[in-house]
Symmetry: D2
Subunit: 350 residues, 4 copies
């Protein structure tokens, strides 16, 4: 089969590789219908994630048809069309029993982390994929749902919702600020609406992204390039700050921005993947009764979000700005890797 | 009357000042029976808290008898023996209605902070005190409770419980680590037991303090001066880390320690008052699904803790290591200011 | 002034009575702009609530202008336009400190119940009203909000939200059933949307009411007169039952219906005011891991709901089907008392 | 092998039956070391549970050694000493993913109920048992834990804790009342202490049982045969009622007692297995803001409780009043079936 293979820092190829085979009784094999590219894939390709071995097939998002099931699989059958969670979870370790799938202790013996696709094991940018712990890690797709509607459910939509909105404890009537209007930030914007906030304020340096944020549900936008950006945000509250500040970039400056606009008693929810430590102003914050959360998605809301997408309550297909076929994988990477140039948000490869 | 007056950085006096008078209908005047000294008072005296004006009477903890009540006070009468909360709360602003008394918006027009005694208004190290919003800020003491049993309820016991144990979300069966075995750390140790943890691990550099921690309820102690202190802590867990790490010192090193020993999915609760920012390793922590909380006490558990002290379920009197009369106020400061030398924990002045 | 006075079972009059005066330092006097009639008023008039004394002015909902303030009132001034909560709360008793305003222990010495207007003290169907504990019990109205938008916030909108939606713990993706499409049921329908449910199923015997429910946000309707009504409801779920069943009528049959359609692990939230006991099938339900809640509104979400109404996120004015002037009070009662005949939902008297 | 077989209403035998064999890849076979008898077993024997087929091996509690593992079992090995949960859970259905193991949808195709041992499939009063979904349903026993310490963890200790204490939301400082001082009531008494209540009041008709309750941790006892039992309970509170009332009998009278002693804003947690419906006084209770919970145990706290038993923080062995060998099974039934006569609480068969 063909797959997108990591060939070392700065190098990749869409090339022939052996088909995957079932290695555990809980595995299934899926023939991929659709996949996409995540910022993390770009990081791996740059060589920023040295634990990824040369030869690894990338990708952790996808939709496909089951072509083979392991010996102990009873709830899935050949022919089922399914969405793959980016997180593989055994469902029986102490972390999984608490819904902390992101820290599954039993993933293929790779203790302590639930995200293994395209990282520790071969991923989804391929014609076929072996899915470990399949009954705990895939979801059947309802009739009539398109690839564009479903593909974001593998990772980005649950990430924005669980790590941004739920960890941030958005409540009806809240003012929510989302710092960063890229894909994951927009996912937090879109899913914040599920908890009835009074305002969703998108903050970004790029006015084109802010315009898109309004289309995704932001009620207000603030350009963080403005000298008075902070005053603009506070003016949208009762003056005391936002109830929930969601960081969706992953650099120190944006995290600090989130801590500066939150009200006493409010929450900062970090979604961003950080490469550096940040200077936390505990000397100012210790007295503010705030809460700072962070984490890898558990995808334990994937099934629920799927229902809402099916009912057109979450227009998930809006994220897809460009479509490609599998043999255009390299072009897809080019477009996603130069998102600003192409005005791209997420690419759908199917 | 006599009171302990801040005379500028490094200077204080136990001197004659005018008696306080009622200025609002919701005030009461209390003749003090007992007070104590807090680390914050030492900070103010050093000049570290410049917003405190010269001439301010210090102290925010105390027990006394009501001698006068304002026009709208109906639930308290002259003669009631009461404990003063260190936090003054109006009970009607949007923050108070949510129990966020620490950020009362109406405190004497000093918007945004509930702690005003011995800081923004005259405090409790005096023979008489004016107590604003008295019906929301004092609690009647049960018959037979001693000063030593009650005095810690003004601040330190609720602080350890609310900001350490409750914000840290201690649950039955948890392994809890408390970094710092000073008064507030011991308060977290003692009140952690209310949520049935499996282990309470006290961590400190000073073995005398660790010994005392065992007496306050720590099941295990680790000396953080040991090169392998971290391994010792992890060995007390399943290897993954503690469920709740409570910081009770207020310096960058101890905060960082707390973030290093918490398990994925666990909580870091900061109680310490910090004078500097800290380097938060978000590059390592973003993926750990932890939660970092902090804040000023609300004392909304004061009434509940009072019941448990009354029933001898919390031996609050253990904190009092030295007792003084009011006219020994300066000696009391000397002992508390040199706590290590005198092996002092908390001083009772009555 | 003029007021609607209860004259004994079956009798009422719109007649001259003395103006109210301030009796406590925490009172204000409000000149009423608008009021409405509640089903409870009809019950009182029938004589079903014998503790209501002859001569009592009825009504517990209203909007008006403050004309006088008590001695300890500092946050409200003459001229403020305010909404009155149907619940009067002192803000300082142990129940109020927990947000359980419905069981304020200090209401005018009438221990244990927060609803006193038009019941234990004179109410709001009058030209002037004395409001006890005013700073805890009234909310300033934003500029430009109409009487029709604001009037439901006194009682019915918070009741549907707090006792139906919040006690029922509606979550994103849930299937919610509301049994009874009268005013309070429609209030639960409208405010359920704040928690992003997948479906809101209105259930009623009257198809006209079901039609209105759709207009208020119900995604599905089921006529409970149909022999297969229960099967129809279950067909809207995965077969196991609804996540949340909200009872909004107050008779045994509808309560039982709610317990029959809830899924294992789900919640039954009773809003209805019951006059009889009900037969609870604990022999069937004990194993279902359900939760049954009930209660009087606290109105601690009134301020939050006010913000959402101001932003036109909750079209509260839809409830008002008929408008009257104060001197048409008796006609207003006639229309509301014969709601089916006039197709009336709520009447606005202003 | 030998097993206790249900032979129809009123009849049982300890007789030879075929050894169990593995039928699914997720099964294990356990050689039983210890089992016990539950009130439910007596109900089945009476013929009260007609869905139990003649020939069924009874029992749903036990400890044993694994002698064989299914093809997909990777976390358990032959020789492991384990406790069996009374609830079998697949760990992958929508209910299990929420921790609602009591309503596992996939239990051997017996949709909707997690308790199947000794009910829908052969149980634990036997020399060998087949355990379905073993990796989700058994827990390894720490070195040195005795049968008497471990046996209650299969069912009764988690039941008292989850359905009584956790569903009842016991909090530090609460007054908790437990109606019924039989095994499951005492389990609620013992585990209530994990949440630091101020008082635990045991209520029963039998003074011998009340005496035992004190030994299990009750701070106060009330004999419900006393005419003023209710006044005695209220006198132990502030007069308003208990914070949490736990029903642990399963008859209408005791359930009604629980609803009569709970304070406004409090919780009623039903543990009892009811055979009849009860008359719920909604006409009095609708206004009390109480919450009524009920359900079958999930045993998702079994692992946590196991840790506390290991540390001797929960003296679980106290429940065992009589011990028997396997070939004394019939005698064991006789003693347990006449508990009052023998002053028996739980019997250990090993």
């Amino acid at each position: 089969m063909k797959a997108l293979v990591y060939k070392g820092p700065g190098q990749k190829a869409w090339e022939d590789v052996p088909n995957p085979v079932i290695t555990r009784a809980t595995d299934v094999i899926v023939k991929m219908d659709a996949t996409t590219i995540c910022g993390t894939d770009l990081h791996i390709l740059k060589g920023d994630v040295p634990e990824v071995e040369v030869g690894r097939i990338l990708g952790h998002e996808g939709i496909g048809i089951i072509t083979e099931v392991g010996a102990s699989v009873t709830q899935l059958v050949v022919g089922d069309r399914v969405i793959l969670s980016c997180v593989s979870s055994c469902g029986r370790c102490s972390n999984c029993r608490q819904g902390l799938y992101s820290h599954c202790l039993d993933d293929e013996g790779i203790a302590g982390i639930g995200w293994i696709f395209g990282y520790m094991i071969d991923g989804t940018q391929a014609e076929y994929v072996r899915v470990p712990f399949a009954e705990n890690s895939v979801y059947k797709i309802p009739e009539g749902m398109t690839d564009a509607e479903g593909i974001l459910l593998s990772d980005i939509l649950p990430t924005g919702f669980e790590i941004g909105v739920q960890y941030g404890q958005v409540n009806p009537g809240d003012v929510v600020a989302v710092v960063g209007a890229g894909p994951v930030g927009l996912s937090a914007v879109m899913t914040s609406r599920l908890y009835g906030p009074a305002k969703i304020v998108a903050i970004d340096l790029d006015s084109a992204r802010l315009k898109r944020a309004s289309d995704f549900g932001a009620t207000d936008t603030v350009n963080s390039g403005d000298a008075d950006w902070k005053e603009q945000v506070l003016a949208l509250t009762d003056g005391a700050g936002v109830d929930v500040a969601i960081e969706a970039v992953g650099v120190p400056a944006t995290f600090t921005m989130a801590t500066e606009i939150v009200r006493p008693g409010g929450n900062v929810a970090n979604i961003g993947v950080h490469g550096k430590s940040v200077d936390l102003k505990l000397n100012e914050l210790w007295i503010k009764n705030i809460d700072i959360s962070m984490g890898l998605v558990n995808t334990n809301t994937l099934g629920m979000l799927l229902k809402l997408v099916e009912q057109h309550k979450l227009p998930a297909e809006k994220f897809v700005t460009h479509e490609f076929s599998f043999d255009q994988m390299i072009e897809a990477y080019d477009v996603f890797g130069n998102a600003a140039k192409y005005d791209a948000l997420k690419v759908l490869i199917h």
